[in-house]
């Protein structure tokens, strides 16, 4: 009974948890609920992975409410989405374990229960995006997670928090609407909203212009979403790599528009990296870096070869680990000093060596230094490009990692080689549990840079599955 309903539980449990957390109204109890639910999520995700592996065709399909796809909403767990589910849920569990101290310092006591409610809602949304096989359902989950994120932002102390929440709401909604617009066009062209179904039908479309418009809208919409959530999104950004959407992308790229997707990714990689260099706020810098990193992922998809796709998928995981480490390290710093401007971080490395050490390791990962997970992704991507004989593409990948050297190097230099300012000097050590989880993730960056069975191994198999579906 339970095992056959696991796909639904994966999303329903956090929803229920959110309601429960809202009802108890007491911060610590709400945290406990969030903690229990968040740690149940990885368990379910791993159970799903086991099911997927035992399933003969490698897909667990779950018809929500008994309505069979393509008419009804399908929850579809294949190797790729199981991978994303594990990623999101494990990260979510780690973040919630890390959170209480940071939450207590940044949010008024009577509002803390709301924080955990919204956190669980956001998780539900992200997991939903990962598990759903329906393009429109993905939009609903996108908005569930976005709306809860707006609230999370507005919960901050500052009156400016409300203002930024409003601005995020405006632009985020535009992004989401662009996404629906794209999905609508796809629907008009193919007559289906089930993404696996769309992928099957897209090949028959003669006129590619509406298809291009649809993909452009979807990509722009998702990019808007991704770029705009610098705050509180220590959670991996499932928007960017909803596996079902990836399937659709893959299908369309395989047939017609690979080059456009490729150019878009290339533009994202270069432009966003350059913009990241000029950010004064460290969170914004990391956010733009995310856009660039997502460019790597779409690039891997656009290559449509075993190696390239493996690189794209493995980078989903690797990027999540690296960015989570970076944001958690920044979280530790903000917790103790309240500083987010890079210039004001002078000397922080000497005051908080472990935290900044984690930051440096993750930053080196973004650059792609060997011995970190970033190297693994970059290796596959460059190899994928070279296999196709696309020299210019390999060149662009390495150029964008050069820009990463600049923006990561800037932080390192300020943090370690400037005299600490008074505010930094007085800063205490970050709390143990925050530091511990940051360091665990930083260690994972190095360990997984050597032991790639879990990451590249699964990614390679997922790539095989996806490519097999294409032919």
């Amino acid at each position: 009974m339970i095992s056959s309903n696991l796909p639904a539980l994966q999303v329903v449990l956090p929803l229920l948890g959110a309601v429960l957390a809202a009802l108890v109204r007491r911060g610590p109890i709400a945290w406990l609920i969030a903690l229990v639910v968040s740690w149940t999520m990885p368990a379910i995700a791993f159970a799903l992975l086991r099911q997927v592996l035992t399933e003969p065709d490698g897909v667990v399909s779950y018809a929500l409410g008994g309505w069979t796809p393509p008419l009804g909403i399908e929850y579809r767990v294949d190797l790729v989405s199981a991978y994303i589910l594990i990623l999101v849920s494990v990260m979510g569990a780690l973040v919630i374990s890390y959170a209480p101290r940071s939450v207590a310092s940044e949010i008024a006591p009577e509002r803390q229960a709301w924080f955990y409610t919204m956190y669980l809602l956001c998780m539900a949304g992200l997991l939903g995006i990962a598990i759903t096989g329906d393009a429109f359902n993905a939009f609903v989950f996108l908005e569930v997670s976005s709306l809860s994120t707006y609230v999370l932002i507005a919960l901050g102390h500052d009156s400016r928090a409300v203002l930024s929440a409003y601005q995020y709401l405006i632009v985020g909604t535009i992004g989401a609407t662009f996404y629906v617009l794209g999905v609508g066009l796809l629907y008009v062209m193919t007559g289906s909203l089930n993404l696996a179904d769309i992928a099957g039908r897209i090949g028959d479309i003669e006129n590619i212009r509406p298809l291009l418009a649809a993909l452009a809208f979807i990509t722009v919409g998702i990019s808007l979403k991704v770029a705009l959530f610098p705050v509180h999104l220590w959670l991996p950004n499932a928007y960017a790599f909803a596996p079902s959407v990836v399937t659709a992308f893959l299908a369309s790229t395989a047939t017609k528009v690979a080059l456009y997707l490729l150019l878009l990714s290339v533009a994202a990689m270069i432009v966003a990296s350059v913009v990241a260099v000029f950010q004064a706020n460290i969170k914004r810098m990391l956010a733009y870096s995310s856009v660039a990193q997502i460019g790597y992922i779409t690039l891997g998809i656009a290559l449509i070869t075993q190696t390239g796709l493996t690189g794209g998928i493995v980078h989903i995981f690797n990027h999540a680990v690296m960015k989570a480490t970076l944001f958690m390290a920044v979280g530790c710093i903000v917790f103790r000093t309240g500083v987010v401007r890079i210039e004001d971080l002078a000397g922080i490395g000497r005051r908080m060596p472990l935290t900044m050490g984690a930051f440096v390791i993750a930053g080196l990962g973004l650059i792609g230094v060997p011995g970190t997970v970033g190297f693994v992704s970059k290796y596959f991507l460059v190899a994928g490009a070279l296999e196709k004989g696309w020299w210019w593409l390999a060149a662009i990948i390495v150029i964008s990692s050069l820009i990463a050297v600049v923006y990561v190097g800037r932080v390192i230099e300020v943090a370690w080689f400037r005299e600490p300012t008074a505010a930094i000097k007085d800063a205490g050590k970050p709390p143990l549990e925050m530091l511990a989880f940051t360091c665990i993730l930083a260690a994972a960056i190095v360990v997984l840079g050597f032991d790639t069975e879990l990451t590249a191994g699964i990614a390679a198999r997922a790539a095989e599955v996806l490519l097999a579906g294409m032919t």
């Binding site: 190899a383 370690w416 080689f417 050597f450």
Partner: protein, 506 residues
């Protein structure tokens, strides 16, 4: 303990030393003891490996597969062995010297200095013993990163700017050019292992080979081939022991070592001489060699002049690699050793002068030889070894390079070598001459000048390294014998090797 586990020990020792140094940071005397003991233990370990290698063994660790085609593992061959011996041996001298220099100059943040230093040595050993391109690349990057804090150590505006250039150029070239080169090699050859005779034979056309070689040469920024040499003078802002580390022990040596390793074990010298894919590099290296010497002439800051001298001397190694004959490769390997001892002596002297008199500009060093006779004498020895006069070690590397050039049919290279030696004379010896023969401006005529040497911890190491320059002249045979063991041609190619009358690899 078997030689295989000694390799691991050689890597762990400096790493553990770094940890211990960090922990004992509160007590400087204890911390310095840890540094010295670690360096001695490392040297002993490396000597242990050397004994095994000399007895014909080829120690290696079981490789760990990272993902398909990319492995992490170590194996020791003669070239890496020599590099490891040089690095670990000079680390001892450098450690003692650092203590004198850092205390004499009252530098801040000494603990982090020694920690980074130990990590840099661990990375150097990793580079020396790497069994494949990935492992080598990994330690190459660790070396860059661990030396960056050393370069920016002073943390003032100049040091930050120098450090920025250092990091950007080394990390930049390696990520932008070396990484694609490695991946390309992996795709084409299907392996990244260092195999005698190379792994690219018959896999690429000569144009593609030339291009790949260019990616390697300019990607290995540490080898400082013009125009990617620029970081080296910029890194002169670092404290002198760091400059010694950069120039003699670790960084640039890791660069040229990597170049040699790639030429011998990835391309294979037979392939290069057959296709002529490295012809262009002979010219680039020769240009770099002369140009850097000329620039050195114009520099008034002593360390800057020595830096350009290093650029020029490194070009010798690259030149030998580009010539791709056995004699030239032996010359290159020897040049790594000889230049290391010579240049570390010169830098030690420059540092000693700075500690004792605070002088950094050559024009201010008139009469310095009378104040610091021992230091200046060591400087003279180091200079003569760099120039390549007997009875100093530098003689032999130039000798073998010359033979290699003739073998490769590039007799004009011999002329380049001679001109360069003359230029070396022109930019090094006047310093000594003016130091000894002119009176210091502040001294009254007729009165003897008081001798004010740097602290003993500075002077003793530079005497040792100067003595080494002479010892190496007589011990060059051993080095040559070891280098000749290098598997330069594929083992299957034995008949061809026998016909040439060269000793075969183990």
């Amino acid at each position: 303990m078997s030689a295989d586990s000694l390799i691991v020990l050689a890597l762990l020792l400096p790493t553990a030393g770094a940890g211990l140094i960090a922990m004992t940071g509160r007590n400087p005397n204890l911390r310095e003891t840890v540094t010295i003991v670690t360096s001695l233990a490392l040297f002993a370990t490396v000597m242990g490996v050397l004994t095994a290698v000399l007895s014909g063994a080829e120690p290696r660790t079981t490789p760990v597969e990272i993902f398909a085609g990319v492995e992490f593992g170590f194996s020791v061959e003669p070239l890496g062995m020599i590099f490891a011996v040089v690095a670990s041996g000079l680390w001892i001298a450098n450690s003692i010297y650092s203590i004198g220099y850092m205390r004499g100059n009252d530098e801040p943040r000494q603990t982090s200095f020694y920690v980074c230093f130990a990590i840099a040595i661990a990375a150097t050993i990793g580079v020396a013993f790497a069994a494949n391109l990935f492992t080598l690349f990994l330690f190459y990057e660790i070396l860059t990163l661990s030396t960056y804090p050393l370069v920016a150590h002073k943390a003032n505006a100049g040091a930050m700017a120098g450090g920025r250039i250092y990091l950007l150029m080394l990390l930049g070239t390696s990520m932008a050019l070396l990484l694609p080169a490695i991946i390309w090699t992996g795709i084409v050859a299907g392996t990244l292992d260092f195999i005698p005779g190379g792994i690219l034979d018959g896999k690429l056309g000569s144009t593609a080979l030339g291009l790949l070689l260019a990616l390697y040469i300019f990607g290995i920024g540490k080898a400082a081939v013009m125009p990617v040499h620029y970081w080296l003078p910029a890194a002169m802002v670092a404290p002198t022991p760091v400059s010694a580390l950069l120039h003699a022990v670790a960084v640039v040596k890791a660069g040229v070592f990597t170049v040699l390793k790639v030429i011998v074990y990835v391309f294979g010298i037979d392939l290069l001489s057959a296709t002529g894919a490295s012809e262009w590099l002979v010219f680039v290296a020769a240009f770099s060699l002369l140009m850097a010497s000329l620039v050195a002439l114009t520099r008034n800051n002593l360390k800057a002049r020595l830096a350009y001298s290093t650029v020029s001397q490194l070009a010798y190694v690259v030149l030998g690699a580009a010539l791709a004959t056995q004699a030239a490769i032996i010359g290159s390997g020897m040049q790594i050793v000889m230049h290391a001892t010579g240049k570390i002596t010169l830098f030690f002297c420059a540092g000693a002068i700075a500690v004792a008199t605070r002088k950094t500009e050559i024009s201010d060093m008139v009469g310095i030889g009378r104040r610091m006779p021992v230091t200046m004498f060591a400087f003279l020895i180091g200079s003569l070894s760099i120039i390549g006069l007997p009875p100093f070690g530098g003689t032999w590397s130039k000798w073998w390079l010359g033979i290699g050039a003739v073998d490769a049919g590039h007799a004009w290279v011999v002329a380049v070598l001679m001109v360069s030696s003359l230029l070396n004379v022109a930019y090094l010896l006047p310093i000594v001459a003016r130091g000894y023969f002119l009176p210091p401006p502040e001294a009254k005529s007729g009165e003897p000048v008081a001798v004010t040497e740097a602290p003993a911890a500075c002077v003793i190491p530079l005497c040792i390294t100067a003595a080494l320059c002479i010892v190496l002249f007589f011990a060059a045979g051993e080095v040559e014998a070891l280098l000749a063991q290098m598997g330069m041609v594929a083992p299957t190619d034995i008949t061809a090797t026998l016909a040439k009358g060269e000793p075969d690899g183990p």
